[in-house]
Symmetry: C2
Subunit: 363 residues, 2 copies
Amino acid sequence: MGTSRTVLSIDAMGGDSGPAVVVAGMAKSAEKNPDIRFILHGPKNELKPLVNKRKLQDLVEIRDAEDVVSMEAKPSHVMRHGKGTSMWSAIESVRNGEAEVCVSCGNTGALMAVSMIRLRKIEGVNRPAIACLWPSRNPGGFNLMLDVGADIRADQDDLLQYALMGMSYARNGFGLARPRIGLLNVGTEEHKGRAELKVAYDIIADAAEDNEFEFVGFVEGGDIPSDRVDVIVTDGFTGNVALKTAEGTANLISEALREAFKYSPLSRIASLLAYTSLRRLKKRIDPRRVNGGVFLGLNGTVVKSHGSADATGVSAAIKLAFKLAETGFGAKLAARVASATNASQTDEIVAGDDGEIGDLKTT
Amino acid sequence: MGTSRTVLSIDAMGGDSGPAVVVAGMAKSAEKNPDIRFILHGPKNELKPLVNKRKLQDLVEIRDAEDVVSMEAKPSHVMRHGKGTSMWSAIESVRNGEAEVCVSCGNTGALMAVSMIRLRKIEGVNRPAIACLWPSRNPGGFNLMLDVGADIRADQDDLLQYALMGMSYARNGFGLARPRIGLLNVGTEEHKGRAELKVAYDIIADAAEDNEFEFVGFVEGGDIPSDRVDVIVTDGFTGNVALKTAEGTANLISEALREAFKYSPLSRIASLLAYTSLRRLKKRIDPRRVNGGVFLGLNGTVVKSHGSADATGVSAAIKLAFKLAETGFGAKLAARVASATNASQTDEIVAGDDGEIGDLKTT
């Protein structure tokens, strides 16, 4: 592989649909990006025929790994006994610098656990986060939300870190010079919400000027897809519930739409005439197009594809990984967080006891 | 007013669109339910012409109240200085037994605060909850979720109370003999989620047999509109974010759908042909049809209509209030919670210190 190529590390196993779908997704991506190269992790004798069938031999190096992390596996078990798995091997390629970004369809908890122990957190980050793209009314078509499930807890300092990581993503991934950041709450008034959110409000507001982002304050669930914000910051419990609720709502409406068009002969004709319009709509809100949660805050970038992703979904996750690798996003994020952490050292010492009380409350 | 009539107490003020819309909603409801009677609260000289215009004089008694609770008012301020407001007056009619159920489009926080101090919590309930109907795949078309915003906190005992209140609602409001209850979490495995959720899981499971509901365990955001559950239990912070995220998602898709049909001449023709299908869809997911959060856990039932509700929305809230009044829901709920609380007294004493530690954690 030449040095000008972008190398991605792909976990072939662990998705609901098996490695054939992953390799099909790689083929789709390779067609569009001639500079892409892959290290593919999984059982060699199973993967080789799939790679040959798609004629990807010249772009793919297979790394043999017999074991698979199942969807039911406990993260703690995988951390102790997961060395022989394709997931572990895929992370390892990012750790040792062979690949820029890792992509996996596997068990989220296990993937985060392995990423944490092998890649380690970057300086200044207490809790890594999973960021996801959210279809929005902004010109670029997407907002970013984090954390959507790396950790069920986040205190005020974690939320500040999420804001800085989200800002770095929006600047590099969305090309926004001055990203607008909002903090998710149950009301937009300053006196509302949990205690740690009020503190987070103040410290994120304080960090805005130095870090050149705009803090729009509290936002509500209805603002997540809005054009008044680019990055939405929340804890991983709330973020995960919001993400899955939105997916559930979109699925319910899609079903209802299909049923509505099946109802009468006239509506069936209408659905034929509306075919291209409906396809356009589907493309706009298709969850497969936004497939890929990005793990932020680690020494190395990991993209988590949906477990049930098909070839289109896997290809979307690979496209995202490729883009992040090309922009050198990982290094920029680490530099940004480190500089912000150093700048705020003085404040932290002054805050002293208050900070500790806040920590106790949210533990 | 005859004693066989169902009397509802209506706060005319505080909604975004003013009292004319409220009175229009009352007229819609009165047309469909000849047994309905109203006590209407607000400035008499403003309300009288509206009532006369709709020819509702015989069904409506106007109760003069000059002051209005604004959308920006702080609940604590309204608790101290709200006596002269239409909201206070409307709650008062339920408190003194003149009306069965109160309906208001006003400020949610203030309405809950006034309801708490005037109606008081029923025995055995620590935190009242707001329950809302959620369009679902169940035969009845709706699931119930609570709490969607009465309180930003809920510990394990509160979540058990919510389960019992939700069960009572599902039995009376949905006519289900054995409602299925799920606890919202970020995964369906028992080992996942926050500490208080694991404890809540156990105590709700223990209460299922005596109270004749089915506990389906943990559910995720995507399950809220599913047919594997009737009642979804969560804390008010998470519930409020989920509700507003779902509304935001539905709005985004509706917009995209409209745009898709405007795109080309062919798609415009299709939208004309699909008119009835789209109307059917709109009716199915129209948030106005599910308008009305119900305050549970108080000595008296209060229905909170959306602040931006139009006449159709107000009428939906009134319909819900009428139904709850007719079934004597309030008294049944109180009886159910009181009996369950007495049954679990022994357990609580045994739990002792543990319960206290749990409380500190979530404060």
